[in-house]
Structures are given as C-alpha cells and as structure tokens.
C-alpha cells in the first residue's frame, strides 16, 4: 500500500533579486509502507527541499503531497525528521532530549521515561543518559537524534543527510544500527544523501535527482536482502550505473553545479 503519494509537485523559491528559482519540477513519486527509500543527487537538486515538504516544514508551490490520502500541510506526529547536524538541544541531557517530544505529546511521565530509556538502549546509549550533547561524539549525537525521533513512534522517519558529517567508521557503524532498527521497527524511511554507496547499501529504492531544475531522472530498485555485503557485484553494478548517470548530468548541465558527488 502506498503510504506517501507525491503528485505533480513543483517548488519555486523567490530569490533576493526577485526572480523565481525553480527548485523542484514535476515530482511524482509513490512511497510504500516499510520502504527504505533514498533520494540522491548533487547539491542543489532539491532533494532536501522535497524532504522538508514531506515533513510539512515548507509548502509546495503546486501539486500535492498526501500521506494515506491526507494532504500534508504541517508537521505531524506521523513524520519525524533527523538532521545532519543532529540538532540536539544542548541545554538538555541525552535522556531529556529523547523525552522532549514525549512531553510535548503529554505522555504520562513514568511511561515516557520508560520509553525514552528503552529507545536509548536500542541505540546503546543508555549509559550516557545523563550526559550533555557537547560531551558526545558526532556519531553518538546522531544516535541520540535517531532515538529522539523513534521514541515518538512515527510511521515515517525522514533523514536529511544524517551521516554526512561523520567519519567513515562511525558512518559504517550507524548504517548497521539503522538497518537493524529499521528491520525491527518496520518504519518507512526516506533518506537523503549525496553518498551513492550509502544510498545503494541501505535502500530498497534509490531515486536519482538531477538539478537545474531539481527533478527525478531515474530510479533503481534494489532487491538484495540486508545486511548487504559491499562487495556484492549487483550492488557495485548499480552504484556504477548511478555514477554514470550523474556524470552524464555533469556533462549536459555544466560542471560547476556539481560539488558533492562522492562515492
């Protein structure tokens, strides 16, 4: 069943010089329940903008986005977002950060604490529950951010380059943890990244975006069971195909629009 239905979405931003910048053109996409889907593309291709639209943080210019036949206009409890910068509240301890959303939902204190602690255990940070964010490494912060989102039990987890600022080792570890959490909780995950290998390794489906204006140029279905071996030849084939596709884009659109195509 389709959980998210993105229909004819266009998004323009008004620039400071008064001209309209076309960020997204004609986006059509259906996302299934429990699917792990990645948006990949160069910076400026509108993939993060689309994610923000799904979160209800910014409105579409035309078209509509529906979650189970309900039009998305505002943020909602069914969707929670994880950001590249972790975005933890520095004045709260780790567990208080995880409790934040539960308090907003006015969940009974004892129950909320129990839930938060459980979620911290799931990301193996229960020993750090009374630490402050600045005492944690980047990878740990990101795990807290994931716990803070999952504790709200959303149907959809929106992730905006969540591991983009991490070193390779933490990233690999978080990949493994994220896949485990995903399999256990059966959430739908929409994952934005500019890292092709990351997208291919994690996702059921990879949507490749081009820029100027941002649009979908191709999608790849990846039916390889998790956990995936990065030497898997089918994975490498898809990875190369995506790379070729993005290179083609560079040639047809000019190099200066591409800064961040990493493998």
């Amino acid at each position: 069943m389709n959980l998210l239905n993105i229909k004819d979405v266009n998004k323009n931003f008004k620039q400071e010089n008064g001209r309209q910048l076309e960020v997204l053109r004609n986006i059509n996409l259906k996302i299934k329940e429990k699917e792990f889907i990645s948006f990949i593309g160069p910076s400026g291709c509108g993939k993060s903008t689309l994610l923000n639209i799904l979160a209800g943080l910014i409105p579409v210019s035309s078209g509509q986005v529906m979650i189970k036949n309900k039009i998305i206009q505002n943020p909602g409890n069914d969707r929670v977002m994880v950001f590249q910068e972790a975005a933890l509240f520095p004045w709260l301890t780790v567990i208080e950060n995880v409790l934040f959303g539960l308090k907003i939902k006015k969940i009974d204190k004892k129950k909320a604490y129990q839930k938060a602690l459980e979620q911290l255990k799931a990301v193996q940070l229960d020993d750090f529950k009374d630490s402050y964010p600045h005492q944690l490494s980047g990878g740990m912060k990101q795990r807290v951010a994931i716990a803070r989102s999952l504790v709200l039990d959303p149907e959809i987890l929106l992730m905006d380059e969540p591991f983009g600022a991490l070193d390779e080792q933490s990233r690999l570890m978080l990949h493994r943890q994220l896949i485990k959490l995903w399999q256990k909780t059966e959430k739908t995950i929409v994952f934005v990244t500019h890292n092709i290998r990351e997208a291919v390794k994690l996702s059921d489906r990879v949507i490749v975006f081009g820029s100027n204006p941002g649009r979908i140029i191709e999608e790849f279905r990846i039916d390889i069971p998790q956990p995936r071996d990065r030497e898997n030849s089918a994975l490498i084939r898809i990875e190369n195909k995506i790379l070729d596709l993005l290179e083609e884009e560079i040639e047809s659109r000019g190099e200066n629009t591409y800064e961040k195509i990493a493998t």
Binding site: M81, E85, A87, F100, I104, Y132, R148, S149
Partner: protein, 252 residues
C-alpha cells in the same frame, strides 16, 4: 594560585607608590590621604555600620532597577526579534538610546519624580535596559534554525516553541546581556546617587566631598570598584562559563 604572587606584588607596589606620593606632601593630608588613613576609614565605616547600611540601600535600588531593566529588555528584545516592523522602527532608536549615558536623564528624572527614590531607579532602568534589548534580540534571532525545525517536526506549537526551544537556546546571549546590563545599571546607580538623594554609597561619596574628607571619597570609590569587580567576576563570569560549557560553546 600561581597567579597570586604577581597580583600581590602589584598591589604592594601600588601601595608603595601611593605611600611615597603621600610622603612627598604635595597636597595636604585631607586632600591626599595615605593608604593607612583610607584603611582606617574603611574599617570604621564598616564598624559603625555606615557602609553596610549604604551598600544595602544601594543594592535595594539596584535590584529593583535591574530587575525592571531585564524585564523590559527581554520583552522589547523578543518583540524586535519577532516582528520586522518593530525592528525597523524601534531598533535604531534603541541603538541611539544605548549611546546616551544614563545620567543624562537625571535632570528630567528629578523633575518628573522629584528628588526621591523613583528618580534614581528610573535612571538605573534606563542604564540597564538597552544592552539587554540588544542581546536578547540577537540571541533570539541567532537560534539555530535546525533546532526550530527539529522541534517543529516533534510537534511543538508556537508557544511551546518559544518557551521550550527559542528562549533556552538564547540563554548564552541572555547571560551576556544580563552581565552588561548589571554593569551599566551599577554605573547608572552611582551616578544617580551622586546627584540625586537617598542613603546609598553615592550619597556617602558626596557627603565626603562636602565635608572635605577625601579619605572617605577614596574609600567609597574603592568599594564601588570592588563590588563591581566581585559581582562581575564571581557571579556573572561564573554563570557565563557554566552556560557556555553546557551549551557546548566553549572554545576549548
């Protein structure tokens, strides 16, 4: 503790120069007292309760004026940060007001409120408010957008967003504002007490002038400086350090 030695030597050096100048007898004793005379004035002043009484009176005014500055400063700061129209209209006005030494308001205050307590408090409020406005609005405007986004996706409404995210995120700036505001209020208070009336430290200083007792004047100056230094160093700098640490803003 290592730093204590050079500090002590420096203070002893100053005392020595002071004593030396005193011995030169350029001015008469009552105009240029020795360190010893000032020390005994200090001890006597505390013994007979004059200073304790004056400091208490000054602090009472200061706390009233300072609290009002913080309140007005925060409210105006929030308004400026929230509404572009308020920023465009009141913003430049605040910057201009900030550059007006608050004692300048005293003639007006004295006429409006007569010689009383309220005139001095008025001046203290005018001294402390503007820095708080500027720091509060900067703090609120500089809250990381991603924190606001994160809170929104977790379902906060506008009121919760302000109290649970924007205000705490602005605390490092607010503390700086509180510290500057305190320093300016303190100066304004002393200026106000010199010219106005009442029974604070400033009045005692004027009293010393009128009686030709420079030992008393110097003692009060030392008290004013020490109190300013102690509150800044032990109250505000400490608080600022704790906050910067907690917020992860320390350069270390």
């Amino acid at each position: 503790m290592k730093k204590l030695l050079p500090k002590t030597i420096f203070i002893l050096l100053i005392l020595a120069v002071w004593q030396f100048l005193f011995k030169l007898n350029i001015w008469p004793d009552f105009l240029f007292p020795s360190p010893g005379m000032v020390t005994s004035t200090l001890i006597e002043g505390f013994k007979d309760g004059t200073f304790t009484f004056a400091i208490t009176a000054s602090f009472k005014r200061l706390l009233i004026g300072y609290s009002l500055s913080l309140l007005f400063g925060l409210m105006l700061g929030v308004l400026i940060a929230s509404f572009q129209l308020v920023e465009d209209t009141i913003g430049p006005f605040i910057l201009a007001l900030q550059s007006v030494p608050s004692v300048v308001w005293l003639p007006l205050a004295l006429l409006w409120f007569s010689m009383g307590e309220r005139a001095i408090i008025f001046v203290v409020v005018l001294g402390g408010t503007w820095n708080m406005v500027i720091n509060a609005s900067t703090g609120i405007k500089n809250v990381q957008p991603v924190l606001i986004k994160a809170a929104k996706t977790m379902g906060v409404n506008k009121i919760q967003l302000f109290w649970k995210v924007i205000l705490p995120a602005a605390i490092p700036h607010l503390i700086t504002g509180m510290r500057l505001s305190w320093a300016f209020s303190w100066r304004a208070l002393m200026a106000g007490e010199l010219i106005g009336s009442g029974d604070g430290l400033g009045q005692i200083l004027m009293w010393g002038r009128d009686m030709g007792n420079m030992s008393l004047v110097i003692t009060v100056i030392l008290l004013i400086g020490s109190i300013g230094y102690l509150t800044d160093n032990f109250l505000f700098k400490k608080a600022e350090k704790v906050v910067l640490n907690r917020w992860g803003l320390n350069s270390k």
